[in-house]
């Protein structure tokens, strides 16, 4: 079972604001899912390579482009919140 403190820690890493009630709810729900996932420990994976994609992928680069956005345009630029304190 995850502790309340662990749930709060994960929520902070994920930048998700949770209420007290939600912390308890997520604690129960995440723990039950993690209990289900425990079965993966029964599989012997000692000599197995991992698969991230079902086919081999290569990186492709493209030029950066800008698009017309929504209404919040100021002189052709996008207005956003202050991100530097």
């Amino acid at each position: 079972m995850l502790t309340q403190k662990e749930v709060q820690h994960i929520a902070k890493l994920a930048r998700l604001g949770l209420t007290e009630k939600e912390i308890g709810k997520f604690q129960r729900e995440l723990s039950s899912i993690l209990d289900y996932v425990e079965r993966l420990k029964k599989v012997d994976v000692a000599k197995v390579e991992s698969t991230s994609h079902s086919l081999t992928v290569e990186n492709v680069m493209r030029k950066d482009q800008s698009f017309k956005f929504d209404k919040k345009l100021l002189d052709g630029r996008l207005k956003v919140k202050k991100i530097l304190q």
């Binding site: 890493l13 604001g17 289900y36 996932v37 599989v43 079902s54 086919l55 698009f67 919140k81 202050k82």
Partner: protein, 473 residues
């Protein structure tokens, strides 16, 4: 002549060519049907009436000029709301994107527009594709046209319900763990999840990038084939896309040579006995026509769902980091940047999305990465190897698409794990990157049941041909 809203793609195409009706008439018939039915069904989030009418008018002027028409020209379709259509709202079923207007067309939309389809609107879905009932949409659930007290499945419930309710000829959807096939099965439609890489995902709102694939939901197998051919192919804008070397058109698989694998792990406890009966009788029909039925084993099948529910939330948590209250849509105020993040994401995402972000963040966090994420990826290799092994002996696999027919609205919302279990037959296919199709093969009282046909990578032509055979049996 049949009603305009009851046609397949080729029937509608013939009707347009023979001038039995105009593209505008066809488009209006569907828009009227949507207005009549969608208050109850709620398959659509946005109706793009102006766009649809202008596209239809253009097709009519081309028809007058007598130039050859692509088969999809003038065909009214619906698009899942996680696929971008330029200048049309695109929410992916999430409050965090409630005012997001797509700045460009997804490659699949560009391809359909080149064929001059008519886009009627955007369809409802579980938020970012996370769910199996469309009840996780921030904008309210979709209802199953076969029984309004039941879910249409998910996450592409809107796309499947729109086809089943004759609110469009076909729809586009996206499948990460069953999101095309399971709703197609619940709504009695054909749903094709193509091979990973067969269809470009440029302009698809990313959910779990090693699993997501775009595909069609249609009334017939022939229609699925037509739409798949129109949207498949390598795209320089999607590094995972690949050109298939197999042509689709006119490929026919002789049933006498067909070897059908039945994975024994898929017919154990948990399956609804009436669903099992219908699937077995579908298998019997193929056997009676000379197909060879082979029992096969996928020994790691029992671990697929667990591996999926680590890999999927891990990738989702990374993909959804971009919704920070700064760059897109919904933004809550706060005293500093951290509070803006916490509040925008806390209030902008629904419960299931937050659950998966939490789960993924945990599985990827320091100290747990190897125990969860890396282990799940190794199990994924074993699952893929199981499929590779059985495909040396058989041409395709037959399984149920879902262990049960459409369930009641609200039945599984309080227990996330029971909702996850409805994906038990579909997730392995995404983990292994294979193509699979759900084909309507019978009903339990009035509720449709889907047969899942799984093929080898890039063998869409085979599974489509095998499915088409069933419609003729």
């Amino acid at each position: 002549m049949r009603e305009l809203t009851n046609l397949t793609i080729s029937q509608a195409h013939q009707g347009l060519k023979k001038k039995q009706f105009s593209a505008l008439e066809l488009c209006r018939a569907y828009l009227n049907n949507i207005k009549k039915k969608d208050k109850e069904i709620h398959a659509f989030l946005t109706i793009s009436e102006k766009l649809a009418l202008s596209q239809a008018k253009k097709v009519d002027s081309l028809l007058v000029s007598g130039r050859p028409m692509p088969v999809l020209a003038g065909i009214p379709c619906a698009v899942k709301d996680d696929i971008l259509v330029e200048a049309v709202k695109c929410t992916a079923g999430s409050k965090i994107l409630e005012n997001y207007i797509a700045p460009y067309d997804a490659t699949v939309i560009q391809k359909l527009k080149e064929q001059r389809v008519v886009i009627l609107g955007k369809t409802n879905q579980d938020e970012f594709g996370m769910g199996s009932s469309t009840e996780n949409s921030a904008f309210g659930p979709t209802k199953n046209p076969h029984d309004l007290t039941r879910t249409p499945g998910g996450s592409s419930g809107g796309s499947a319900a729109a086809v089943a309710a004759d609110e469009c000829v076909f729809s586009l959807a996206e499948d990460t763990g069953g999101s095309i096939r399971q709703p197609a099965s619940f709504c009695g439609a054909v749903g094709l999840k193509p091979t990973y890489g067969a269809v470009s995902r440029y302009g698809l709102i990313a959910f779990a990038s090693s699993l997501d694939q775009i595909g069609p939901i249609t009334k017939t197998v022939e229609d699925a084939k037509i739409v798949y051919e129109a949207i498949c192919g390598k795209d320089p804008k999607d590094s995972t896309s690949v050109e298939s070397k197999f042509p689709i058109s006119n490929f026919q698989f002789p049933i006498k040579n067909l070897r059908i694998g039945i994975p024994k792990e898929y017919f154990i406890k948990g399956i609804d006995p009436s669903v099992e009966k219908i699937i077995k009788s579908a298998i019997k029909k193929y056997e009676d026509r000379g197909a060879k039925i082979v029992e096969v084993s996928l020994p790691h099948a029992e671990f697929a769902l667990a591996a999926y529910y680590i890999i999927n939330p891990s990738e989702a948590s990374a993909n959804l980091a971009r919704y920070d209250g700064i760059k897109y849509g919904f933004s809550a105020s706060g005293k500093d940047l951290m509070e803006v993040y916490l509040r925008s994401r806390g209030q902008g995402f629904g419960a299931e999305v937050r659950r998966r972000i939490m789960l993924g963040t945990y599985a990827l966090s320091a100290g747990y990465y190897e125990a969860y994420y890396l282990r799940a990826q190794k199990v994924r290799t074993l699952i893929k190897n199981d499929f590779d092994r059985v495909f040396q002996k058989v041409d395709c696999l037959f399984t149920p698409t879902s262990p049960f027919p459409a369930f009641k609205l609200g039945e599984k919302t309080s227990d996330p794990l029971s909702m996850y279990l409805s994906d038990i037959y579909t997730v392995s296919v995404n983990l292994a990157g294979l193509p699979a199709l759900s084909l309507p093969c019978g009903k339990v009282s009035n509720l449709p049941v889907g047969l899942q046909i799984i093929g080898q990578a890039f063998n869409e032509h085979k599974i489509l041909s095998i499915a088409e055979t069933f419609e003729k049996l």
